[in-house]
């Protein structure tokens, strides 16, 4: 049997392999965190400081293990830093400075992200249709660029919110528009990690479809509703729980979305559609399991964080609010999926369909509840 997955590296070996860039990267993380601690100490509470400090080893480790991620983080950080420098504390410069207007302001960066996601989807599919290795490689590069552009957009948006007014400033994970950008970036990264781990670009055409759909929604939302405007935080959202609850949730959503698209690939391959362009079924099954596993683990954490937050903001950790209830439904659904996989005999098509339906349920929990059921319950009624 050929090697279908890459071996993870042991810690000792990892340290031995580190190059100059790796060390510079880690040094930059330390310096960045140190600078923030020195200059913005007064603005952070104990939780925020400890997050900041913990982020240094976490991101060092992630970047060391995965050089692609490291490079993307470095690029996004440089871009965001350039943008902040160009702004020179004046929001009006977004209209005047060429680089800001067409590349580095948050909205423009997010538009670039959107365009790059579409290009990447096209490139991956070209790779399938024309059987061109080159096109698929381009697809990966474009996906990386899209993730970098999205991350830059979020970082700059964070800064812009403080330029509006220090009391308006907040981390951009507070409304549907912001989390959609986050979703795009995280889903792309989750996909890219599997691309590396399983050494195949053949899942790109499928996974990029769901990311494109998310970007399509993002554009619609922004062009018809002007959703991109930065809004100040209502009191219920002013909580440090939000800052970890939302990203944890979106790792979950992103992983579930990837699993569902792999399920689509599974169902196609089983029917002989594009079979030559899809990895073997056991690889698909493995990716699906891995994605749902990580998604489930993070979603569990996210739901619990949500409960802790609710306890603080609304006085109960659980009140069967539609959003909470749908989170539970999603969670139960994937718990059932995991048990299903453990049961002998229930494999393959059933699991694939279930993962696909799982995405429908997840999308409803994530979007549908806000759109269809919101009238029933005012979230944080203050």
């Amino acid at each position: 049997m050929t090697e279908l997955t890459r071996a993870p590296t042991a810690p000792a070996e990892l340290l031995r392999r580190l190059g100059l860039i790796d060390w510079l990267y880690a040094l930059a993380l330390v310096a960045g965190a140190g600078y923030a601690l020195m200059h913005f100490c007064g603005f952070m509470d104990a939780y925020e400081k400890s997050f900041l400090v913990l982020a240094v080893p976490l991101f060092s480790w992630l970047g060391w293990r995965w050089s692609g991620l490291r490079n993307m983080l470095i690029a996004a950080a440089i871009a965001a830093f350039a943008s902040i420098t160009l702004y020179a504390q004046d929001l009006g410069r977004a209209e005047k400075v060429f680089l800001l207007k067409y590349f580095l302001s948050s909205q423009t960066a997010i538009m670039w992200m959107s365009a790059l996601v579409f290009f990447a989807t096209g490139a991956y599919w070209l790779g399938v249709v024309a059987r061109a290795q080159f096109a698929s490689r381009l697809g990966s590069a474009l996906t990386w660029s899209a993730a970098g552009a999205g991350l830059t957009g979020l970082l700059v948006r964070w800064y812009e919110s403080y330029l509006i007014s220090p009391d308006v400033g907040h981390i951009p994970v507070a409304n549907l528009y912001e989390v959609f950008v986050l979703f795009t970036v995280l889903t792309a990264l989750i996909y890219l990690s599997y691309e590396r781990r399983y050494a195949t670009r053949q899942l790109g055409p499928f996974v990029l479809l769901v990311i494109s759909a998310a970007v399509g929604f993002l554009l619609w939302y922004s062009f018809t509703r002007n959703a991109q405007d930065i809004q100040p935080l209502i009191p219920a959202l002013q909580s440090y729980w939000m800052k970890i609850h939302v990203p944890a949730n979106f790792i979950g959503y992103g992983a579930f979305a990837v699993a569902a698209m792999v399920a689509v690939a599974w169902l196609c391959a089983e029917r002989g559609i594009l079979k030559a362009h899809i990895p073997p079924l056991e690889v698909l099954d493995d990716v699906m399991y891995r994605a749902i596993g990580i998604g489930f683990a993070f979603f569990t954490v996210a739901t619990i964080l949500g409960a802790l937050w609710a306890a603080e903001a609304w006085g109960t950790y659980w009140q069967w609010d539609p959003k909470e209830t749908w989170a539970l439904i999603v969670w139960l659904n994937y718990a059932a999926w995991l048990h299903m996989r453990l049961t002998k005999g229930l494999r393959g098509a059933v699991l694939a369909w279930w993962a696909l339906i799982g995405l429908v349920v997840t999308s409803f929990a994530f979007l549908g509840v806000n759109m269809v059921l919101s009238g029933l319950h005012s979230y944080g009624s203050l």
């Binding site: 007014s165 308006v168 306890a311 006085g315 659904n333 049961t343 203050l382």
Partner: protein
């Protein structure tokens, strides 16, 4: 352990994976109901929604509080039982599994493993050494079993990950049981066994009977404490089905001040209550500020900033009777009900300011490119044309007639500018479902509504109609000097004015419109309508002058402003026919008193739920990421070795690791004795 076949079968069923999957799915589906149907609403609302036939059926099914319904709790109970049975069932095999190395495995069973391989060994003694060394190097712990035909080394790694199973599933049981303590089961028990009964209707707190008061030692509750500024409270109110219960608290809370801070855009930024809490037993007091996301716990009770309300703001009002007559000054307070002209007025809400976005939407004619460009740049840009303006204080009240029917009114205190003119907005609606419809009352040069009401009274007073028509005819005659009108002409003009005015005073433009539709040919309608308006405006002007004469005020010159004013008065008088109220209440002065609503919670299950959550997270990560691997190496004296690998999950990693260990072992065992002695540590 001998069991009857029935209980054995039950045990099998409850602990089967398929049953677990079915339960998880069933629970997920059942949970949907409560997200589609609004929960814990007023029973009246359900009755309206479903009608008298379905209402009681749905009530029986517990659909108005699904998550407390017996059948729903039963599904949950099954989940808890099933999980517990599962745990119990697994304790023995799993702990055994974790400890065991299985060094007594038989060769035939090893050959049945999906992952096994056989290879030649170089030298028996060094093969043993190399295997031990290799297993140690890859972090496996091992146990050996010398056999007749050689040596079986059984090794494992990550078997402790099975603890994850107990942590996760045990955590789940703990969460459910903890949640049960905080749910409304304790309350249901007190109602069933302690004879507690919710009370209905609007009573004073002091009048609520003992049967509706819970004990101070109640160990689990969640209720709201309503405290106006400068007052105090020691009771929480629990909403139960269609009534309330009172929960005395172990302390008294007095509210010093309630704060609402706003952003520049008018969105709320901070809600905070400055309170003094006095312990009933010790008499000690503490001063605290409670904010959203910053609760405060005392004596096992946690206080949260839940909401806010009006605490009985004091209002000075001027009641303008719409039937005519002098205005009357009255006093009121939010939350009060008072009789007023055969109605009951209920003052429901007061807002000291109303920030609204009054910007016009941008023109649609933008090109696609400019629209796109509007979405570039910083996200701080206001693409949505915003112009925030404070519209000043507003008052909402209801007028209920003797039949109990109520209409709701929304009045602003300050005039608003529209097209360069100023109006006081008076909103009315028949039911909550509608939006407010506004009567725009024009204010005079002095910024007051007095002129409007004076004109209106005269205009609609039948006794004045003759006089107004007379003056109208005379005024027209004066203007048309050239024509030198005859007395006949004058009489005709007066007749026209009178008829028009009488028609208008029936239902305003509505009755005029009906008349035109009925008796004027279609072609001429527009022109006739224009004439009517001209006539009415002149009459309104006369009415204004009459009013001023009566008040001994000088007559006015007709300026464009005055002309616009009489047009507005005319529109507004016409609208006033649809303003179904005996009076218009103008807010003249107020003293705002706010109230804070704190939520008081005693939730003994919370720490259990948190503990269970922690176990659950640890367990889930352990189950998913601590992978159990077992390696068996049977080294035989006949020069062969059998290698087998197993894991507790199907995954491609297993394939890869198998290949990796197989190749490494083959190399390590296959090398001639001399070489392997060198490499051995």
């Amino acid at each position: 352990m001998k069991k009857t076949s029935v209980s054995r079968a039950l045990f099998e069923l409850l602990s089967s994976m398929r049953f677990a999957i079915s339960l998880l799915t069933l629970l997920a589906i059942a949970s949907i109901i409560g997200t589609v149907l609004k929960q814990n609403d007023a029973y009246n609302a359900y009755l309206n929604q479903f009608g008298p036939f379905w209402f009681p059926i749905f009530e029986k099914l517990g659909l108005y509080a699904v998550y407390n319904a017996g059948w729903f709790l039963t599904i949950l109970a099954f989940l808890v039982v099933s999980t517990s049975v599962c745990i119990v069932r697994q304790i023995h095999p799993m702990t055994k599994e974790m400890r065991a190395f299985k060094e007594h495995a038989r060769e035939t069973s090893l050959r049945l493993f999906k992952h096994h391989a056989e290879f030649e060994i170089g030298d028996y003694a060094s093969a043993e050494q190399s295997t031990r060394a290799y297993l140690q190097q890859i972090g496996f712990s091992s146990r050996e079993n010398p056999r007749e035909d050689g040596l079986l080394i059984a090794a494992k790694r990550g078997a402790w990950g099975r603890w994850g199973y107990f942590l996760a599933h045990g955590g789940l049981v703990v969460i459910c049981l903890g949640g049960l303590l905080d749910g409304n089961l304790p309350l249901k028990l007190q109602m069933a066994l302690g004879g507690k009964k919710p009370t209905q209707g609007n009573q004073l707190i002091a009048d609520i009977p003992a049967a509706s008061r819970l004990s101070e030692d109640n160990w689990s509750y969640r209720g709201n404490v309503f405290i106006p500024e400068g007052r105090s409270s020691d009771t929480a109110i629990l909403n139960v089905a269609d009534g309330i219960l009172l929960q005395p608290l172990p302390f008294t809370i007095s509210l010093q001040k309630f704060h609402i801070d706003h952003y520049e855009t008018g969105q709320p930024k901070r809600f905070a209550s400055d309170i003094i809490l006095t312990d009933k037993k010790t008499g000690q007091s503490l001063t605290r500020t409670i904010e959203v996301n910053k609760p405060f716990e005392y004596a096992g009770v946690t206080l949260y900033q839940a909401s806010f309300d009006d605490g009985g703001s004091k209002l000075s009002l001027r009641a303008w009777p719409l039937a005519g007559g002098a205005p009357e000054d009255i006093e009121g307070a939010i939350g009060e009900q008072r009789p007023l002209k055969g109605y009951t007025v209920e003052y429901t809400a007061f807002r000291p300011f109303n920030v609204e976005n009054i910007a016009e939407p941008p023109a649609d004619s933008q090109s696609a490119l400019t629209q796109f460009e509007a979405h570039l740049g910083s996200a701080a840009k206001r693409t949505e044309h915003k112009d925030f303006r404070n519209l000043g204080p507003s008052l909402t009240y209801k007028l209920r007639d003797s039949a109990g029917q109520a209409r709701e009114f929304l009045n602003y205190m300050l005039p608003m500018e529209q097209d360069g003119r100023w109006f006081l907005m008076a909103g009315m609606r028949e039911s909550q479902a509608e939006g407010f419809r506004f009567m725009r009352i024009p204010v005079d040069d002095a910024g007051r509504v007095d002129s409007f009401f004076a004109i209106r009274t005269i205009l609609l007073d039948p006794k004045q109609h003759e006089r107004l028509a007379q003056r109208f005819a005379k005024a027209v005659a004066q203007v048309d000097q050239a024509a030198n009108p005859s007395a006949d002409m004058q009489a005709k003009l007066k007749e026209t004015g009178l008829r028009t005015l009488q028609l208008f005073s029936l239902r305003g433009f509505e009755s005029l419109g009906a008349f035109i539709d009925k008796s004027i040919p279609e072609k001429e309608r527009e022109q006739v309508a224009g004439n009517f308006i001209q006539i009415l405006k002149s009459i309104v002007w006369q009415a204004w002058m009459v009013a001023r004469e009566e008040q001994k005020l000088p007559a006015l010159e007709p300026t464009p402003q005055h002309n616009a004013f009489i047009g507005d008065v005319l529109n507004s008088v016409s609208d006033s026919f649809h303003y179904a109220a005996p009076v218009y209440l103008q807010l003249s002065q107020f003293e705002e008193i706010q109230a804070s609503v704190l939520q008081a919670t005693r939730s003994p299950g919370k720490k259990w739920v948190y503990l269970g959550s922690l176990l659950l997270v640890l367990g889930v990560f352990a189950m998913l990421y601590v992978r159990e691997r077992r390696i068996f190496v049977l080294i035989k004296r006949d020069g062969k070795a059998l290698f087998a690998l197993s894991s507790n999950r199907v995954s491609l990693d297993v394939e890869r690791e198998f290949a990796q260990h197989r190749d490494a072992l083959r190399q390590a065992l296959n090398t001639p004795a001399a070489d392997s002695m060198k490499t051995a540590p």
